[in-house]
């Protein structure tokens, strides 16, 4: 019955590799005149969750990788391709493509599948985060639509210390995704000393049979000086899912979520041969899904420590404690909390 020998299946990884190799060779030839920089990271780790293991198993070993190519086409145009893969998906995916255009000193343009510039934490790359994962608040509001990536056109400027006469960063981004969401994100940042004070506004349109327009606000105060970082973030965003639910129930559909996050980390040299520096970190947050019922909330306490074998090689331990009091519950649960250990190598 073996009419379909699986030699092709066995060869599939090799064929994939061959295709990828051909693609990169072709790209190299195509962009022979351009400069290409490769960056990214690889990570492997282990997580233990507090959750019903018959719904989803509570111990997960994982690995993931990011491979990013930054292509300088000429002095005005750059492009970026970001490929990622992880053990959950078991495949490599194109995470981001973007092109940057720089014809003016104080205004640049970025087009592609890029991040919505809402909140300082969202703008950080995964490998630049002190913690392994983004904070609970950031993940929650991203799920609501105030984060993640979308095909966008963005006008922006990032503050440059060499141009201190203009101590601002800004971004105005128009996006549209494939879940009938579209909107505008605006972000303004004032930089002074080692501080950055940011204000964000986002207009989110959810299309469907019952469309909804939602607004989100966010402010950040971030500080960074010689290995010491801390930041405070405040969020006030309309929950489109709950608003639509209440709209359907003919109830007040203006449901706003509120949250506050404080994060801090300090990287200090040990003078050791193996572990060069250590970075303890702490993230504290509180998030109320409904601003009119703040007694139902989630409190997050995420202590962690990063051990640097080298600037780009670190071993990390995070304990992410989530205390959640759900609607109609009178006490907090720790469901969703986790302990993570990870080795990350950036390049």
């Amino acid at each position: 019955m073996n009419r379909y020998p699986n030699f092709i299946l066995k060869k599939a990884p090799f064929l994939n590799f061959l295709a990828l190799f051909a693609l990169f060779t072709a790209s190299s030839l195509l962009f022979a005149q351009e400069q290409i920089d490769f960056t990214g990271f690889g990570a492997a780790g282990f997580r233990v969750y507090d959750r019903n293991q018959l719904r989803k198993y509570n111990q997960v070993s994982y690995y993931e990788g990011k491979f990013q190519a930054d292509i300088t086409i000429n002095k005005h145009i750059e492009a970026q391709i970001d490929m990622r893969g992880n053990s959950d998906d078991n495949q490599v995916k194109l995470h981001e493509f973007s092109a940057k255009f720089e014809y003016m000193k104080l205004m640049r343009f970025k087009v592609g599948n890029i991040k919505k510039p809402f909140g300082s934490e969202e703008l950080l790359e995964r490998e630049d985060l002190a913690s392994v994962d983004r904070s609970h608040i950031q993940q929650t509001i991203s799920d609501l639509g105030y984060g993640g990536r979308g095909v966008s056109v963005m006008a922006y400027y990032n503050y440059n210390k060499k141009r201190s006469e203009f101590p601002f960063s800004y971004a105005v981004s128009f996006f549209k995704d494939n879940s009938l969401n579209s909107g505008i994100v605006t972000r303004g940042v004032y930089h002074f000393d080692d501080y950055a004070l940011a204000l964000n506004y986002m207009y989110l349109h959810k299309g469907n049979e019952t469309p909804l327009n939602a607004s989100g606000f966010c402010t950040n105060l971030d500080f960074e000086h010689e290995g010491l970082k801390y930041g405070i973030a405040l969020f006030y965003v309309r929950d489109p899912n709950e608003s639509l639910r209440r709209q359907a129930m003919l109830q007040n559909d203006h449901v706003y979520s509120t949250g506050m996050n404080i994060s801090s980390s300090f990287n200090f040299n040990t003078g050791g041969d193996v572990i060069k520096s250590i970075e303890p970190l702490l993230v504290l947050g509180v998030f109320a899904p409904d601003s009119k019922a703040t007694k139902y909330n989630t409190i997050e306490a995420l202590p962690g420590i990063n051990f640097y074998f080298q600037k780009k090689v670190r071993f990390r331990i995070n304990g992410d404690l989530l205390l959640t009091k759900n609607l109609y519950n009178s006490s907090y649960t720790t469901v969703g909390s986790q302990i993570v250990t990870e080795l990350q190598v950036c390049f």
């Binding site: 379909y4 299946l9 018959l54 719904r55 078991n90 639910r245 129930m249 759900n326 609607l327």
Partner: protein
């Protein structure tokens, strides 16, 4: 002499070839479809080391003499831990098998008769419940004999679309679910939101809160806005009769057809039905029935539903033909299932036990229902 040796040699060679020819007993099976999956060695090793994750690997499927590209991954909750575990197959290129582009391949861990799922579906259909498509098959991966499985339709957007049923919300009840807030109850831990695909459990929370707080005399006016009480009582009575120990705090769906309609029930996963090692007596326990029984009319309705099911649905006339039909389909391949064989199970004995259970259970219900 050389000639004799040559003839002998050819004879031995011919005989050896004949003896070595693979005789696959499944090739002669016409009563049951055989689904064969081919996964590369690397991918299969990967699959085996990721049983607890939902990680897919590429697979080629042959079914009913047709060839499909697909992905395959482990499926299920506790059943992933068993030697005979479940799979989830997603076909590529918009292909379909039995009109499904993805489906579960369930090992029916607790069902030695392989009749419980079709039997339960048949009886639920007689009671007017929505059920899922299911068919038995023999499933193999990479030519090794994996055994008897059940191909089951998944309940999701396509399930409703295929039946032209409107759906506003779908929530799956997962293992150990509680339907009360008198104790801390983290809904995201015991329920799975399926439609819409978000983490908002507030409709369910409103229902559970109503179950906790509605005065019993107002059940049919106020609580009825959250759940179809009559349908739920019928579901509960049926699950109790069939001793479905895994079906009252697990393995069913709440669905709303519109935002304002009450929750209705879609039952799911039937390999623990007709559990003759358990005895749910006349009322299987969960928080919903405990709350509903505070109202005498609910209790009376439950009693009447149970009596009606025992008298008119849960009987030999309805059950035995289904059991016998499945028996005819699987009897020739039952012995080929290595797990069933290892456990020394005999299909005829198992079928006889099931039939006896139906007879005894019906008799128990009819004799005792008036004492409820």
């Amino acid at each position: 002499m050389k000639k004799i040796f040559f003839i002998l040699f050819c004879g031995i060679l011919f005989q050896s070839c004949h003896l070595n020819e693979a005789v696959n007993p499944l090739d002669n099976i016409n009563s049951l479809p055989v689904m064969q999956a081919y996964v590369s060695d690397d991918s299969y090793t990967f699959l085996l080391s990721n049983k607890m994750n939902d990680v897919s690997v590429p697979a080629k499927i042959i079914y009913a003499d047709k060839y499909y590209l697909s992905t395959i991954k482990a499926q299920g909750a506790g059943s992933r831990l068993f030697a005979k575990w479940n799979y989830f197959v997603t076909l590529s290129n918009n292909d379909r098998i039995d009109n499904l582009s993805y489906f579960n391949i369930s090992g029916q861990t607790y069902d030695a008769t392989f009749t419980r799922t079709p039997l339960t579906i048949h009886l639920l259909n007689l009671l007017g419940f929505n059920t899922f498509y299911s068919t038995p098959l023999f499933f193999k991966i990479n030519e090794s004999e994996n055994g008897l499985y059940q191909l089951n339709e998944k309940i999701d957007e396509n399930y409703f679309a295929a039946r032209a049923l409107p759906v506003y919300e779908l929530v799956k009840v997962a293992f150990g679910a509680r339907f009360t807030f008198t104790q801390t109850n983290t809904l995201s831990d015991n329920f799975e939101k399926k439609i819409p695909d978000d983490k908002n459990f507030n409709n369910l929370a409103d229902f559970i809160n109503a179950l906790d707080t509605t005065k019993p005399e107002n059940f049919f006016t106020d609580l009825a806005k959250f759940i179809d009480i009559k349908e739920y009582l019928r579901f509960h009575a049926f699950n109790t009769i069939i001793n479905n120990t895994d079906g009252l705090t697990n393995n069913f769906y709440f669905y709303k057809s519109t935002a304002s309609s009450p929750y209705k029930i879609i039952p799911w996963d039937f390999d623990k039905t007709f559990d003759y090692n358990a005895n749910l007596k006349l009322v299987g326990d969960n928080d919903i029935i405990r709350a509903l029984f505070k109202n005498d009319s609910c209790k009376a309705l439950y009693k009447s539903e149970m009596k009606n099911i025992a008298e008119n649905v849960f009987n030999e006339e309805n059950a035995y033909p289904v059991i016998d039909g499945i028996y005819a389909q699987i009897k020739d391949v039952y012995e080929l299932d290595p797990w069933l064989k290892e456990n020394g199970l005999n299909l005829e004995n198992e079928i006889a036990k099931l039939k006896q259970f139906i007879k005894d259970r019906r008799s128990y219900i009819l004799q005792n229902i008036d004492n409820l």
